[in-house]
Each structure stands twice: as structure tokens, then as C-alpha cells.
Symmetry: C2
Subunit: 129 residues, 2 copies
């Protein structure tokens, strides 16, 4: 028997991603989605235009990158600025919140990238079983 | 024109999640997947048996949690221990690497949960446009 308290449904409490109806959960999915993570971390390098960002996030389709950026803009993670040049330029940058989120994602990625020997050893052991 | 260097394919270089064929990319998807994030962060609370973990990760199906735990075990993030009791107990814990990954994920979740006012304001502004 699990003795932990059941998730509360009191709306005055703080957000809780563990509660299935919490509004934070779809946002968590946007920022940890396959392309969301990479777009946010890429934008830590500085502002990007769409085509350059698409080259940076290797393998993403135009449609998926466009949907990803729309979600991130809607959630307040990414700012989209249209510059009134001819032709107009559209540039994407991180918001203050997006920058904080992206910092955690980058730390996660660095941990993973520097631990791939451990991961590969685990994968080999798992498949030997 | 993007002047950043193209992703190298030199296998002696470190893992790079931005490269589409890098072996770290599917692992990133496992740890940032919808249920992977929640399972890893829940396991920071201590060892869990399957049914209790499923109650904690509110909304996950048995099948999805089972698949999630299998991926996390294969990637070396989660340790699955079968205790030789009658009936046998199966307990899940974080590995050392899983604990480091889960720490970053929890920091990400705390940032998100404490910023939901900012997120909701951005969402409202986006839908007014």
C-alpha cells in the first residue's frame, strides 16, 4: 500500500506535473518534446532565423520546427520578432523563462553526452541478458 | 547563411545530440519522454514497486509505464531488482547516472511549476493576437 498522500485537486495549490490534469503537464511536454529540447538549447547560442535554426537542429522538418516554435512561443519560452526589413526577417530568441528552462535542458544534455560510455555499457549488458 | 561549423561525423568526437545520427539522441528521447521524465523524478523519492509508481505517475497506463521502465533500464538510468520473496517483489531504483539525470529533470520541473503564472500569461496573450 502506498502511504503517500493522494494528489490534491485544490486549485489554490501550486502546479504539480504529477497530477494528470495539471496545466503544467502539456507545457512540460512542449519543452521536453523531441524537437523542443533541441530548439531551446540551440537558442542559448543566440538569436536564430528559421532556416538557420532548422540547419542547427539536424533532421527536423520545416513543419515540425514550425509547430515546435509555435508551442514554445505560446508557452512564453520563445520570442518571435518580425523585423520590418525588405524582405521581412523573422528572428527567434529565448524569453527570460525560456533561458532558465534551456539552462536546465543543456545541463541534462551535457550529463547525457558525457555519460554515453555508461549508457552504451548498460545497453550492451541489457541485450546480453 | 549560417557560419557555424557543420556537425562532424568523426566517431572519435564526443556525443552530440544535435547530430541526427548520434546514439545519444534516442536516449535523450527516453529520458525526456512524456512518462520517462515523471518516472525518473518520482524515483528520486526512493525505491518504488511497479503498482505504487504507477499511482504516483498519475494517468500512465500499465503498458506505457512498463515500456518506459524497460527503456530506462536498458539505458542504465533505472535498476530493476527482483527480491526472492514469496511472492517475488520487483523494485525499481535510480542508478548513479539516473540520479544525476533526474536531478536536472527535477530542477526543470521546479522551474516550470513555479513559473506557471508567466506561462499562463503568455498563453493568454498568444491567443488574443
Amino acid at each position: 500500500m502506498d502511504t503517500r498522500p493522494a494528489a490534491s485537486t485544490d486549485p489554490t495549490l501550486e502546479a504539480d506535473v504529477f497530477a494528470r490534469d495539471c496545466t503544467s503537464r502539456p507545457v512540460l511536454q512542449d519543452i521536453t518534446g523531441r524537437w523542443g529540447v533541441l530548439a531551446l538549447v540551440a537558442l542559448r547560442e543566440g538569436p536564430y532565423r528559421f532556416a538557420a535554426l532548422r540547419r542547427r537542429v539536424d533532421g527536423v522538418s520545416e513543419r515540425m520546427l514550425s509547430q515546435t516554435l509555435q508551442s514554445l512561443e505560446r508557452d512564453g519560452m520563445v520570442h518571435r520578432e518580425v523585423q520590418q526589413t525588405i524582405p521581412p526577417k523573422v528572428e527567434y530568441t529565448l524569453t527570460e523563462l525560456g533561458a532558465r528552462v534551456a539552462e536546465h535542458l543543456e545541463a541534462l544534455i551535457v550529463t547525457l553526452e558525457t555519460s554515453m560510455d555508461t549508457v552504451r555499457a548498460a545497453q550492451a549488458a541489457y541485450h546480453r541478458e
